[in-house]
Amino acid sequence: MLRLHEICKSFGDTQVLSNVSLELQNGEIVCLLGPSGCGKTTLLRIIAGLEAPDAGEIRFKDRELAEVPVHERNFGLMFQDHALFPHMTVAQNVAFGLRMRGHEKVEDGTRATLSLVGLQNMGQRDVNSLSGGEQQRVALARSLAPRPSLLMLDEPLGSLDAGLRERLLPELRQIFVETGQTVITVTHDQQEANAIADRIAIMNNGRIEQYDSPQVLYARPRNAFVAAFLGLGNPVRREWLVAQTGATLEGHSFLLHPAGMRLANAAGNAGIMLDGNLAQRSYEGESWRLAVRVAGETFRFRLPLEVSPVPEAGAKVRLQIDRDWILPLE
């Protein structure tokens, strides 16, 4: 439905996007995930038509968008700061897009959208008096009301506190799925991306590093950046791995995925064994988080609580690695 082809954009001397290509299916929820400054917001603004790309092509339903001005694209964009119009009530904000697009039943549309986001009784409220969560809902309702063919959200929950975010996330996804809305959302928060998206595009330095479902991203990170960004650890070089294990492998560098790590006990001896020191241990409620140092490399992984006792920091430990979780990286 939406097809970006080799989009490039620079501001002055800074290359913000280089050859970004991306495809979206109808009804799909896609998340652009990356550290701040990676170009994800710029990409969103280019799709919306607020910025023009230096090169590349955007096609929506096989129509080239270059000559279509912002207000004729029929997209929705929810800003990070929500950008609610301070001189309008909640209902007037939500009705704005319907009025601009010349809808016939502005009031019905407004009412229906307000109840969709759970604000049915707040229409007459002054937007300046709303809490952060309420503002977020109004902003969402405003972008949803004209039924945009593509809805974009820039850090939709960015300004909210952690607790509220956790509650709103599943709700947000549910609204999108129920309405069959095609969505691109932007975030730097991995949890948020996982909870909301069908597919995640991990961005770094103006490029898309990997574009996959959350599950695939976790299990098969393609390169060192993705692995590190998802908190899966740093790669080890082949020479190191060969020296430690004697295994024969093809490739330059490898990720020893934390999912395949445990502390070896006397009984188990399947997989590869590495001897090292427990450099650090911290208690996290449902699990222990361990950092084990083996021949100059540090591996971090979680240990479920029932495994006990956990050795003291500094103790010699033996790390057991599952062969299936040794992943070659690009």
Binding site: A48, H71, P146
Partner: protein, 545 residues
């Protein structure tokens, strides 16, 4: 803004070129090359002892006014920052009101209080059973200085309190712990820390008093001449246009230098109102300090205005409305040729025109600044501030009296001059409102389907309405009170209120005095009302968005 509207943005630039740059250039030509060839020898006239005297007096009175104002405002500012006491915000508002009053009103108010026909002299005469007035202050430097202090007290007060309120007491506390106290705390810590604020305040007050015109011609009774007054006298009374032009060039040059100095000094200053969380005074010493400062401010700022109102209502037999009634009569032998009430009509008409012109131009200028390069646009639109009204008026006479631009007879000439004076204030009121609109609001609106015109109409315009209101009131009150330029370009038939007050004050007789007082009160109320609305709107604006 749509593509069609873009050329409109250049309108303010055209206005400046036509009615600011062109008149100033004309003065330049007249002063340096009246016959088309460079004639520098006539500049030599400017260095006559008389003109050097004028320049010296201009500087001396400005320096004295500045020093006295700061010396008096410093303790008052200290009290206002240090303690919160009943009436504090009223006193601050009063001082600002004094600053925005038209010069003729201030001059009339001081005439009413301490002039030879004033309230204090009446009281003294009755008490001491004298025939003549014991206090003869008109035509002395003293009354000029007093009026200047009244005028500029707010400038010093606002800058100093703003600076102090924004500083933490950290340095002072550190000095205290190290053993400083009493005068040493003042001399070694407080005043040195305050230096940027004191310098900026001094520079601004110097600029204002350097170009003082109304106060000097009315209260100084033409016994003193500043550069500003001399330009007027040379041009209008002696009709010596080249000399007037030469003096204007000196004036313009000095003003640009001074404004440059001021804007440098000003950059380091935060501007803010006094923080509200100061403690109440405690103990009799603190209460004494507060009462002394508050009492002084009340007498300085309120007494002249009160005297003005009383004088406008008092006749030989006590309370009377006769002076107000007389405003509508065409008294025979009057200097005015027209009943004073017509001046009220004139002023209202000009003020409305000014508001319309300045608002349209200001809105366009602010929009232009949002898009264009602010580094040079911002100072450009502030330029009229750096030019005295008398110079502007003179420039109009010199430049706009011949084809292709012969506007001498046009009723629009006065509103155009007033718009020029008001434009910097109008732009400064609109621009922050326009700036405070986050770009994401406009972008949201366009993504939601609003065309550029709809974005402007639905988002920009409603959100700057508050700033527009403030700007409109500024333009209106500035026009109502403008004196220097109007005196130059107003003809007898379209004289404005300030011009009429000036003429009335210059005449003997209780009738003229009484009418001048009544007219001044009308002007005072108009400007006071405008000021009150501005204060309210701006205060309400702080909390809203």
């Amino acid at each position: 803004m749509t593509r069609l509207a873009r050329p409109l943005l250049l309108l303010p630039l055209l206005f400046l070129a036509l009615f600011y740059v062109w008149p100033l250039l004309s003065i330049l030509v007249l002063g340096l090359a009246p016959d088309g060839t460079l004639a520098l020898e006539q500049l030599r006239q400017l260095f006559s002892p008389w003109h050097l005297n004028v320049l010296a007096f201009t500087i001396v009175q400005a320096l004295l006014s500045t020093a006295i104002t700061i010396a008096l405002a410093l303790p008052a500012a200290w009290v206002c920052v240090r303690w919160s006491f009943p009436g504090r915000s009223m006193l601050l508002s009063l001082s600002t009101l004094a600053f925005v009053l038209p010069t003729v009103v201030v001059a009339a108010a001081f005439s009413a209080l301490i002039g030879s026909r004033g309230l204090v002299n009446d009281l003294l005469r009755q008490m001491l059973a004298l025939d003549g007035a014991p206090l003869r202050l008109e035509g002395t430097l003293a009354i000029i200085l007093i009026a200047h202090v009244f005028y500029n007290f707010a400038v010093a007060l606002r800058i100093i309190t703003g600076y102090w309120a924004n500083r933490s007491t950290m340095h002072e506390d550190a000095a205290r712990v190290l053993g400083a106290q009493g005068w040493r705390l003042w001399w070694e810590v407080r005043l040195p820390l305050l230096r940027p604020a004191l310098l900026a305040a001094a520079a601004l007050i110097f600029i204002f008093t350097f170009t003082s015109f109304g106060v000097i011609v009315i209260l100084g009774e033409l016994r003193f001449s500043t550069l500003e007054v001399e330009i007027y006298l040379q041009a209008v009374n002696l009709f010596n246009l080249p000399v007037a032009a030469g003096l204007s060039i000196v004036q313009i040059t000095l003003m640009f230098v001074l404004m440059l100095v001021y804007s440098r000094l000003r950059q380091r200053l935060p501007m803010a109102l006094v923080a509200a969380q100061a403690p109440r005074p405690q103990g009799w010493r603190q209460w004494l300090a507060v009462s002394a400062a508050g009492g002084f401010m009340l007498i300085l700022l309120a007494a002249p205005l009160l005297a003005l109102v009383i004088r406008s209502l008092s006749g030989a037999e006590g309370l009377t409305g006769a002076w107000y009634a007389a405003l509508s009569q065409d008294v025979r032998g009057s200097v005015l040729f027209v009943p004073p009430v017509q001046a009220v009509g004139n002023s209202l008409f000009f003020a409305l025109c000014t508001t319309a012109i300045a608002l349209v131009l200001g809105l366009l200028a602010a929009s232009l600044m949002q898009r264009g390069n602010r580094r040079w646009l911002d100072p450009l639109f502030m330029l009229p501030l750096a030019t005295s009204a008398v110079t502007l008026g003179f420039g109009f006479i010199v430049a706009l009296d011949e084809p292709p631009l012969d506007l001498r007879a046009s009723p629009l000439l006065i509103p155009i001059a007033h718009s020029l004076v008001a434009l910097p204030f109008v732009v400064r009121s609109i621009l922050p409102a326009l700036d405070s609109i986050s770009p994401s609001l406009r972008e949201s609106a366009s993504v939601l389907g609003a065309t550029p015109w709809q974005v402007w109409r639905q988002i920009d315009l409603p959100l700057v309405s508050r700033g527009l209101l403030v700007a409109a009131i500024f333009a209106f009150t500035i026009s109502m009170g403008e004196f220097g330029a109007s005196l130059f370009i107003a003809r007898p038939a379209n004289a404005t209120i300030p011009v009429v007050i000036y003429r009335l004050l210059g005449q003997p007789g209780t009738m003229n005095m009484g009418q001048a007082m009544a007219m001044s009160v009308i002007l005072l109320l108009t400007c006071g009302l405008g000021f009150a609305v501005i204060e309210r709107v701006q205060r309400a604006g702080n909390g809203a968005f």
